[in-house]
Structures are given as C-alpha cells and as structure tokens.
Amino acid sequence: MPATRKSSRLSSGVGSKQSTLSFNHKVTKSVPKSAKEAALDKPSPLAKEIVPEPETKDEKAVEEVPTEIELKAEKVSAKEIERYWSKIDSTRKAKAAHKKHGEGLSTGEKVLRYFDVSSHYGPCIGTSRMKRWQRAQRLGLNPPIEVLAVLLKEEASGDKNIEQAHMDELMNSTAAGA
C-alpha cells in the first residue's frame, strides 16, 4: 500500500488549511530512463559485487573449457545420430507395434530415453542426464557419444526439459499427486 494513507490522515487530523500534497496521480517523478536505471543500480552493485563474482567466474570456467569429449560430441552430425538409432532399432524384434508409441518423439528424444533405461550406466532417477553421462564416462563405462551429442544440441537450443530423465519426471509427478 502506498504510504499516502498515513500522511493524508495526519494532515486531515491536524485540520490544516494548507493544501496537502496529493500523490494519487503522480507516483513517480518522471525521470529520464538512463538516470532511473543508474539510480536503481547504484546501491545493488555493492550487494551484488561480492556474490555473483565467484559465480560468474565459475560459469566462465565451465564454459570456456569444454572438454575434449564435448568437442568431439559437438562434431557428431544428425545423420550419425540417426544411423546410431537405426542400429539399435534394428536389433529390436517388436518394431512394428512400438513404432506407434514412439511416433511423437524425435530421434534425439528416443536416443535419450534408450540411454535412460540402460541400467548398465546406473539408475536414471535422481540425477540429470548430463550428470549421469559424465559419471558413466568417469567410471570408464564408455557411454555412447551420440547421447552426449544430443544432450549438447538440446542444451544449445535452450530446451530445459531434456535434463531430467522421462522416468524421473513420471516418478516425481506421482509423488506430487499423492
């Protein structure tokens, strides 16, 4: 609530004949935009300076040094991803029936979901796909580089949904509803 209430009450209580300042129409003084922003920013850099500096430094450190494997993954083309997927798909016997389920999904999403259910790399619940891939890489399990390629591509396009495994989403949604 604007602070006008108190002032108006006081002035009216005193019963002064002076014309009171009314802030009903003019809330903010019209000020050129740049000056306003500068005024807003001035106190905050003092507070912000200490905290975001290490954060931005960390972010920069992570972004500036993409690992060798990430560079390799970025070079993987969409065609190679398709080829990888069709190799997995061809080993499956129940192709015709399951194609119906996978209709709405892009190949990238199919590749990621196949990675999720590969229990060889550990449980997919409770961790993001990227972290799971990196953990598998660190433990020497040789996770397919196509999966990293899809993850990086999706990350670049700004899609946040692919971070969580689909199974994880389903499990969490039932927990919320219960």
Partner: protein, 505 residues
C-alpha cells in the same frame, strides 16, 4: 641459631643441585591427512541410495572379475567348462557359469521400514545392539546387480563371511528352484598398496636429538631412520560423562601418563617418543537413561521452547573433554575422530566435530578453510591419512559393529580382514548403517590399501597382520574402548608393532 651452611655437610639437608634438569622433547609427527570422507557444503538428498550400490559395483567389479577369471579359467566340473555371464539374470539352468554382483542378505530380524509403516509404528532412531542373524535358515543370501537378484544356496556359503554390500564372484549353476547353487566364491582381495612416504616427506629430525645428552644410541650416519623410533598412541571410548565417574580417575591418570608427569625419567624418555594421539571415537558418553527419580508429569511441565527441552542438556561431558584436550594439546598433536555417541551427524561418513564444542582446545585448531592440518585435527569418521609415511585408515567402530550383527560369531578381526579384502570399508551402508546418498563417487571403496587399519570403540583389543596377493601387508588393530578396558595402544612407527598399555588404579 643454626644456619643452613652449618647443616649442609651433615648429609640431611642439601642445596638444590647445580645441573639443569633434563628437558625431554617429544618427537614431532609427520602428518598428512586426506579429505576422502569430507562431504561438501551443498548436499542434495533428492537422490536414491541405488547410486551407492551402482558406484560400488562398477568400481570393484573389474577387479573381482579379473581374479575370478584367473581362478576359474578352464575349470571343468562334470564335463562342463565354467563360463562367465554378464548379468546375474543371465544364468541358465543346468549351465555351469560364474557371475559377479553385490551380496544382499535378506534377514527378517533386520529393521524393515515397510513393516513399520504397515504396522503404523514410527521409528525415530536406528535400533541398536540387536543381532540380525537368525539361525533357523530364515536368512537368505542373494546376489544382485542392475539386472536383478538371484538367491544363493550351497554349503560353501557357510565358510565365507558375507554381509550386504560386499562384491563377490560366485561360480555355480542354477537349480530347479531357480536358486543359484554355489560351488566357489572369489573376492577382489586387497587393492594396490602405495609405498611408504607417498604423500609426505620424512622430516629430518635427527639433528634435534643431538643436544640431548641422555638420548638413546643415535648413530651419526645422518639417516632419519637412525633416530629412536616414534610411537603413535591410539585410544577410543574415553566416554567423558557427567554422571558416570567410574573411569574418571583413570582418565586423569591417562592424561598424566601421556604428559609424562608421574613417571620416572627412563619411562619419560620412552613416552617422549609418542608423537601423536589418535582418539578413535566415543569421547563423550551416550546420554544417561531416563532419570528414575523424576516424575514423568514433572518433566512434561518443564520449560519447553519450540519443542526442545533445553533443561535436559548437560554441558559437562564436552567441558570435561575440552579440559582433557586443552591440557594434553600443548605437548602432543591430537587427531580426533567422532564416534557413535559424539556430537557429530548421525549418518556415515560423520563429519568432524565442530570446533565450537571445545572453547579451550579451539585455540589449537586451524581456521576453517585452511589447508594445513591443525595441532588439534578434528577429522571425519571414517578417516584416511598418512602418518609417518604410513597410510592409515580408521573408523570409529560403527561399520564393524553393524557388520557383527550379520554374523553369528563375534570374529571382529575376521570381519576387519574381510572388509579389506572386499575393498569396502562400510559394506552395510546404506542398508543397515545410515549413510549419505552418494551419487558421483562413493568413498567407502578402498582405492589404495592402507598400511594400518584401525577400528575404535571395540569391546576388546585385537591385532593381526594380513597379507595380500601383491605383497601388501596390512596391520589390523581393534582399538579397545578405554571406558571398558582402561587400555591404550601404542604403535611403533618403524615396524608397526603394537603394544598395549593398561592404566590401572
């Protein structure tokens, strides 16, 4: 009037002697703690515990499979060669094969959260000192990996120690009941052992010994090993208590013993070789039981603030511990591991006891964030570090006590040996031992074999040396609880020989 000078020659009175008293210096300690078990600041608890099992299996499985394939290569039983199968569920009936996985022991006496929830009971603390082992065959040993679980049967199982969480390779065949009939079991055995002085360098301390006129024979060869060998003292279960004073006198005597106050100069020279004291848990006694004198109604009306009854807090135990430490610290560096009863977090790995608990001894710790270990080093439980070049691994006893509930006999040294050979220092975590849900790396897997493995707060002393296939040698020490046995352990740093000292009134 008789003056002093007149009486001096008679032999009864003497002037103080002119020569300076011996000042013995304590040997210094070469110390390099590792932070293997330190948890970070921002901990997530969203994840499941399955990651711990996955990490453990992935890290130990290659080693187990290597040992198993060497042991069972070309084994022919009943005309059939043993084959390796990739996953536990790939075993086929009638086929002789071997597979590696995690052991899970299903015991009806184990605390089961599903049972409690179904019976509408709420457990707030883990049940203690309860034996899970039931003799009548209700316990089922199973082998598990990411594909599934299979039950193990066979007389071979009785001759091996098996607890939940250890990684084994089992050879056998599936019988008609769907159970795996085991013929032989292999484990990873001791991990590679680093050499002495891997992380730190020996300090040149023979120059310090020269000015001492009464020192033991010091060869003038100049090598550091010529100095009289140092000792490290181990104690656990000091159990400072506000109510129980049965061992208070012995604690005082222990302090005087370590400081060398009450012993003769020859013993003092020996004591000055003790370069470090390691306290392995349970420095503060667990809370006394309900006061029988107080009325339960009276207690309820006591001043309660936000549901916490502050009048029940007794600061005396930690004050006594603080006093003990601050008197000993000027003379000797101390490494303090928390135990089951100490004011640290309840789940494994326990984080160091906060320096705020020791207002006096705090002066000897370092500021948080410093890289150098302090004179008083509060460390995690379990703890890994390099002392005098030897790699030490030690715990406060919870892992061993928990494992003892799985086996019928109280063979503690056997269990310690098994832990080393399984390469896992806390196999029962997280099943019956509360643990943090590790996701990226599980620190309980021993990557390097320690030279000395000690477990504190044990009911009695025990020691053994075990040998590994690559020439590794590990000294196992079960450090007895001081409150129960009044004993402390001294370990010689050159030979890793163990001697026991009993403080008795």
């Amino acid at each position: 009037m008789v003056t002093l000078e007149d009486v001096l020659d008679s032999g009864m009175l003497k002037k103080p002697s002119e020569d300076e008293p011996e000042v013995l210096e304590r040997s210094d300690s070469d110390y390099h703690p590792l932070h293997t078990f330190t948890l970070g600041k921002d901990l997530q608890y969203r994840q499941q515990f399955a990651d711990i099992y996955f990490l453990r299996l992935t890290k130990i499985k290659p080693a187990v499979e290597e040992i198993a394939s060497i042991a069972w290569e070309g084994t022919v039983i009943g005309g059939e060669t043993a084959k390796r199968v990739e996953r536990v569920l790939d075993v086929r009936q009638g086929e002789l094969c071997w597979v590696a996985g995690t052991v899970y022991v299903d015991m009806p006496l184990k605390p089961n959260i599903l049972e409690d929830v179904s019976k509408d009971r709420w457990i707030s603390a883990p049940s203690t000192a309860q034996h899970y082992f039931s003799d009548d065959g209700r316990d089922a040993v199973m082998l598990e990996d990411d594909s599934g679980r299979i039950r193990l049967v066979g007389s071979v199982l009785k001759s091996h120690i098996l607890v939940t969480g250890c990684i084994i390779a089992a050879m056998g065949t599936e019988n008609i009941n769907g159970e795996f009939d085991v013929i032989d079991i292999q484990i990873a055995d001791l991990p590679p052992q680093p050499g002495r002085w891997e992380l730190s360098k020996p300090s040149q301390n023979d120059t310090k010994k020269e000015p001492k006129p009464k020192s033991e024979d010091v060869e003038m060869s100049g090598s550091p090993s010529a100095a009289p060998s140092k000792k490290i003292a181990f104690v656990s279960g000091l159990e400072f208590s506000g109510t129980d004073t049965s061992h208070a006198m012995d604690l005082n005597l222990l302090l005087e013993f370590l400081l060398g106050d009450v012993v003769d100069p020859a013993t003092q020279a020996e004591l000055s070789q003790i370069s470090r004291l390691i306290i392995a848990g349970n420095s503060i006694a667990s809370e006394a039981k309900e006061h029988p004198a107080e009325d339960p109604a009276e207690r309820k009306s006591a001043h309660k603030k936000y549901g916490y009854d502050s009048s029940s807090y007794n600061p005396l135990p930690s004050q006594l511990l603080d006093k003990f430490l601050s008197e000993l610290l000027p003379s000797m560096p101390i490494t303090l591991l928390p135990g089951a009863h100490d004011p640290a977090n309840a789940s494994y790995p326990q984080q160091p006891i906060h320096a705020a608990m020791f207002p006096k001894a705090r002066a000897y710790t370092v500021l948080p964030g410093s890289t150098e270990p302090g004179w008083l080093d509060t460390v995690t439980n379990p703890w890994e570090g390099e002392v005098e070049g030897w790699r030490f691994l030690g715990t406060g006893g919870q892992n061993l006590d928990d494992m003892c509930k799985y086996v019928p006999d109280n063979n503690r040294l056997g269990l310690m040996e098994a832990m080393c050979r399984w390469r896992c220092s806390a196999p029962t975590a997280p099943d019956t031992l509360w643990a943090y849900p590790f996701q990226d790396d599980e620190p309980f897997v021993m990557k390097k074999c320690p030279h000395l493995y000690f477990v504190g707060c044990q009911p009695e002393f025990g020691t053994r040396v075990i040998q590994g296939p690559d020439g590794q040698m590990v000294r196992l020490i079960a450090v007895p609880s001081f409150a129960a046995t009044r004993e402390i352990i001294l370990v010689d740093t050159e030979t890793l020989d163990v001697s026991r000292v009993k403080i008795a009134t």
